[in-house]
């Protein structure tokens, strides 16, 4: 009997599909799979794409040095297109493919959607750069944070403000995003806990170009604030600082990592002296400087955002957790991760022990001076001074 050609082809295709599927399911003894379900297109792309570059650099370095537990790392990347439903699907696919740890998106909604899938599968997961400190608790014991939490940055800014002798603070917040709302509130809480005084709270809407009402209000305050803190970023921060300075108010302004962009350094005189926090400063001899060199060697261009470094850090933390656990078993990695102390990464040291899965890590303070970034100092605040999320 002759078998028609198309039937043979179909059978062959089925057979192929079958074998490829079975290889996918089988755990490879010589590879350790790490998944990254991130928003590589959509509004998270500016954060998750740099993070991924850092992660890939870390994987290269780890593999070159013999891998983790003697096994090479295979990084499996899934684009969630910044879609919450797709984030859950992508996480489920990673679980099905047998990852032992998972990196998830930079924003809360997709991170939680992926996180609950990892939690159910008892696979530890961490958001690449979401800074909301309540995120791990929203999911459960298998969820970790990586990026400098809003309350951590706020605590550093508050202690710096007190060191400078500022007594009265004014905060400007926007309730449009958790970041612009919560960070100034954490600042106020920490500042008051350190003996400072909150004079007033101003509110703005994201995208609002006219800050004359807020500026007038600041002018009329009694007592006048010694310091103004805000988590506003582009386009709000440039508009605010210009109008503030134009009104003759020269009160020092403290910002956060949202203004760590070329725009801020190009603002000229109005931004002079603005101090802001971020995840690290590449001072000479620092690990971050070494990282920047390695980055440029791999990608052929200088690193232009701190998110690549924090992505690199996260991969290094995962490697440290697996090494410490001595196994690829989910619960073991989770416990080891939760007890990590002073892991050396690109931006400094990271500690998870006793931090409820929100790491304490170095926060760098920088000053805008003559259009350049000047390092004020690296701070690792006393955990007791960090406001509760």
């Amino acid at each position: 009997m002759r078998i028609p050609g198309y039937l043979k082809a179909t059978a062959a295709a089925l057979l192929l599909a079958g074998t490829s599927m079975s290889t996918a399911v089988q755990a490879d003894d010589h590879e350790i799979k790490i998944g990254y379900a991130g928003g590589f297109t959509g509004y998270l792309a500016p954060y998750d794409q740099p993070s991924l570059k850092g992660v890939q650099l870390a994987v290269d370095q780890l593999n070159a040095a013999g891998g983790i537990l003697g096994m090479q790392i295979e990084l499996i990347v899934k684009d969630t297109r910044t879609d919450t439903a797709q984030s859950a699907v992508a996480a489920q696919e990673l679980v099905d493919e047998g990852v032992v740890a998972m990196i998830v998106s930079c924003d809360v909604d997709p991170a939680v959607a992926s996180g609950v899938i990892a939690q159910a599968a008892e696979i530890p997961a961490a958001s690449s750069c979401a800074s909301t400190p309540t995120l791990p608790d929203a999911v459960g014991p298998y969820m970790f944070s990586n990026y400098t939490a809003d309350n951590l940055q706020a605590a550093v800014l508050a202690s710096y403000a007190r060191e400078q002798g500022y007594e009265n603070a004014y905060i400007l917040l926007s309730r449009d995003t958790p970041y612009t709302e919560k960070l100034p509130e954490y600042f106020a809480e920490a500042f008051q806990a350190m003996g400072g005084n909150l004079v007033a709270v101003g509110e703005y809407a994201t995208g609002q170009q006219d800050f004359s009402a807020e500026v007038t209000k600041i002018k009329g305050l009694d007592p006048q604030p010694d310091v103004i803190q805000t988590a506003a970023y582009e386009p709000d921060f440039p508009a605010f600082i210009k109008q503030l300075r134009a009104a003759g108010i020269d009160t020092p302004v403290l910002g956060s990592d949202g203004i760590d962009s070329p725009t801020t350094f190009g603002l000229g005189d109005v931004a002079e002296g603005v101090v802001f926090s971020n995840a690290g400063f590449a001072s000479p001899g620092s690990p971050l400087e070494a990282y920047e060199v390695a980055y440029e060697a791999k990608y052929g261009e200088p690193n232009d955002t701190v998110f690549t470094a924090t992505g690199y850090d996260l991969m290094m933390v995962i490697a440290a957790a697996i090494e410490a656990a001595g196994s690829t078993d989910g619960p073991a990695i989770r416990d080891a991760w939760d007890n990590l102390e002073n892991v050396e990464v690109a931006t400094g040291l990271i500690t998870y022990k006793d931090q409820n899965r929100v790491p304490v890590r170095v926060v760098a303070l920088n000053m805008v001076s003559g259009g350049e970034r000047v390092h004020v100092g690296d701070y690792s605040p006393d955990p007791s001074m960090i406001p509760a999320p």
Binding site: T41, R175, D176
Partner: protein
């Protein structure tokens, strides 16, 4: 009675879509892994959402950006009510006590009705809110209504972010129970499908689709477009609320931005691909777009592993999807389904369901109308800025009479018809219909008082079938008949005008002369006492115009209705009319029997100018029509 509740087409169409979806989904439920099941469930929920958009946009022709707002509202209501107590205390500490402690656990036959009750509460609240918002929006038409829905989306988003005690503001609502799986979602897809199709095929839906095609013409057959739009808005909002509840309990975590532009555009893409004006198109669009994303996503994974490895290239999914949409728009501007439903594509569906195929039958003899009363126009004026298009004009029309209204171009004939039919507001004077003052009445009410009209440039509902054109008029004029009888009536009217053979053709595809006839058949569906015809013979050759003359004279003889005929074809006017009124510059300059008017020097002057009038005779009937 059931026949009136659910049209046979709606049932057939719903079944043709639902059965394959259900079978494939249930197979998927059994064999697919968790990840693919998630994708499948999400697709089913998106079908409900697309049906919500389609129920409004498809029937009204108004693009809605606002329905995602209703999804967000209901998702946040169901979220605030179903998050477990312990998590409420953490994430929503400022929730009012009565809400924090609200408990909707009721048992029925061992089943916890909690989610069912909460979901119902969310849908009911959102539907009510949508009704209130719909009152102003439904009065707008076209692009301004679309912009209003866009504003609605932005405002509702702001409200949800602002109501932070209930919604956590812009932060994500976390811990909403996830329980939507494929079988649950399928149940709601079935409900949404039946609701969407029933509404589309209902008489209200037909009237709204008529208004979508041509609002002035719809008003002229008695369609209250505002009321129909409000109904569609409310029905579709309830479906959107349902989709919101489903999405909430599928995602488990969401913030207000989940229900904003991204979702709106994702749904609109499905609608555009499938066909904006077709329920079947909406469903198929949702399935195709989801399938396309899945295929593109898998190929992206494959391409990245096989070719690029590093640096990984992203965005192939979006590029592929965009190309596919451009392709659909290029080759099928109205989407894959256009204006059709699935059972219309699967021809012969009526036979499968044991239904009778349309047959042109001669209906009962037309009813003669009462001969008392008159349509009286008294000293009416219509002022456009400085122009008095109609100026102190009076005329009257009795049942059984054919009145010609002639005059040079720009003399105010069409404006006069507009004033009588309510399409234009009258500036001065009054119109009296059988002793009732109808001066201030809106067009659709005048139509229901049995004044029909046709238009100078044909205004059919081009994308509806011929029989739907007539049925829309039957429905809008308040005729209460069972579905089968209504079909018979419509066919009888069409047979009278000789267009019954084209019942299932799209009206826009008919030849010109047939379109004119269909327009008259549609006007006759109102059972008019008075029929206003604006240039019925325009563009017809002599044979066609002779046929028309016979038909019009026949209408008067069989039904005894009063005809007001505006035409440039003086041959037709002179042979058809009992009486002729001549307008010039908005004023009546002559009135009387055709022969008298023809000989009137004022009329000759108005038509031919002063100097020529002295040497020429009157415009003679055999001269034929003037330039249109």
């Amino acid at each position: 009675m059931m026949g009136r509740m659910i049209a046979p087409g709606a049932l057939a169409g719903s079944a043709l879509l639902f059965v394959p979806i259900a079978i494939l989904s249930l197979i998927g439920w059994q064999v697919l892994g968790n990840a693919q099941q998630g994708t499948l469930t999400h697709m089913l929920i998106m079908i409900v959402a697309v049906l919500a958009f389609s129920s409004f946009t498809g029937n009204s022709g108004i693009l809605s950006f606002g329905h995602a707002a209703f999804m967000g509202l209901s998702a946040h209501i169901t979220g605030a009510l179903t998050i477990p107590q312990a998590q409420k205390a953490i994430f929503l500490p400022d929730l009012p006590a009565w809400l924090a402690d609200a408990d909707f656990h009721y048992m029925l036959l061992g089943m916890d009705l909690h989610f069912f009750i909460v979901g119902l509460i969310a849908v009911v609240i959102v539907t009510f809110v949508a009704f209130l918002i719909g009152i102003p929006i439904s009065r707008l038409g076209g692009p301004s209504a679309a912009i209003a829905t866009l504003g609605l989306l932005i405002i509702v988003y702001g409200v949800i972010v602002g109501a932070r005690d209930f919604t956590r503001g812009s932060q994500a609502l976390i811990g909403v129970p996830k329980f939507i799986d494929i079988p649950t979602a399928l149940v709601f897809v079935a409900i949404a499908l039946v609701v969407a199709r029933t509404f589309r095929d209902s008489l209200s839906g037909l009237e709204l689709r008529a208004a979508r095609e041509d609002e002035p013409a719809a008003r002229a057959i008695g369609v209250n477009a505002h009321a129909r739009r409000l109904l569609a808005w409310t029905v579709s909002a309830s479906l959107a609320a349902l989709a919101g509840v489903l999405l909430a309990h599928f995602l488990g975590v969401y913030s207000p931005k989940e229900f904003y532009f991204q979702l709106t555009f994702a749904i609109l893409v499905m609608l555009i691909v499938g066909g904006m004006s077709s329920v079947s198109g909406a469903v198929v669009g949702a399935i195709l777009v989801t399938a396309m994303i899945e295929i593109l996503r898998k190929s992206e994974d494959y391409i990245n592993t096989a070719w690029f490895q590093e640096p990984t290239v992203f965005g192939l999914t979006d590029i592929g999807l965009s190309l596919a949409i451009l392709g659909v728009l290029f080759w099928r501007r109205d989407g894959l389904f256009g204006y059709r439903e699935i059972e219309e594509l699967a021809g012969g569906w009526r036979r499968w369901f044991g239904l009778k195929v349309h047959e042109a039958e001669q209906g009962a003899a037309p009813v003669r109308i009462q001969q008392e009363g008159a349509l009286e126009v008294r000293h009416v004026a219509k002022v456009f800025g400085g122009l008095r298009a109609v100026d102190d004009a009076s005329l009257s029309l009795k049942p059984g009479e054919i009145l010609g209204l002639i005059g040079p171009n720009g003399s105010g004939k069409t404006t006069m018809l507009g004033c009588i039919s309510g399409a234009l507001d009258i500036s001065e004077g009054a119109v009296n219909l059988d002793g009732h003052d109808i001066t201030q009445m809106p067009a659709h009410q005048i139509a229901r008082h049995r004044v029909g009209r046709s238009f100078q440039n044909i205004r059919l509902f081009t994308h509806l079938t011929c029989i739907e054109n007539v049925k829309a008029a039957l429905a809008a004029s308040g005729t209460r008949l069972a579905s089968a009888q209504m079909e018979q009536r419509a066919l009888a009217l069409m047979a009278e005008l000789g267009v019954a053979d084209y019942a299932e053709r799209r009206a826009g595809t008919l030849a010109y002369g047939l379109q004119r006839r269909l327009e008259i058949a549609r006007a006759l569906a109102l059972e008019p006492r008075y029929l206003l015809l604006d240039e019925p013979a325009a563009g017809m050759n002599e044979t066609e115009s002779d046929d028309l003359l016979k038909i019009l004279a026949g209408l008067r003889d069989s039904r005894g209705l009063g005809l007001l005929v505006v035409d440039h074809d003086l041959r037709l006017i002179m042979r058809l009319c009992d009486r002729v009124v001549v307008l010039n510059k908005g004023q009546v300059i002559a009135e009387g029997a055709p022969e008298e008017v023809q000989a009137n020097p004022d009329v000759i002057e108005a038509y031919l100018g002063k100097r020529r009038a002295a040497t020429k005779t009157a415009p003679h009937a055999t001269q034929g029509r003037e330039e249109p």
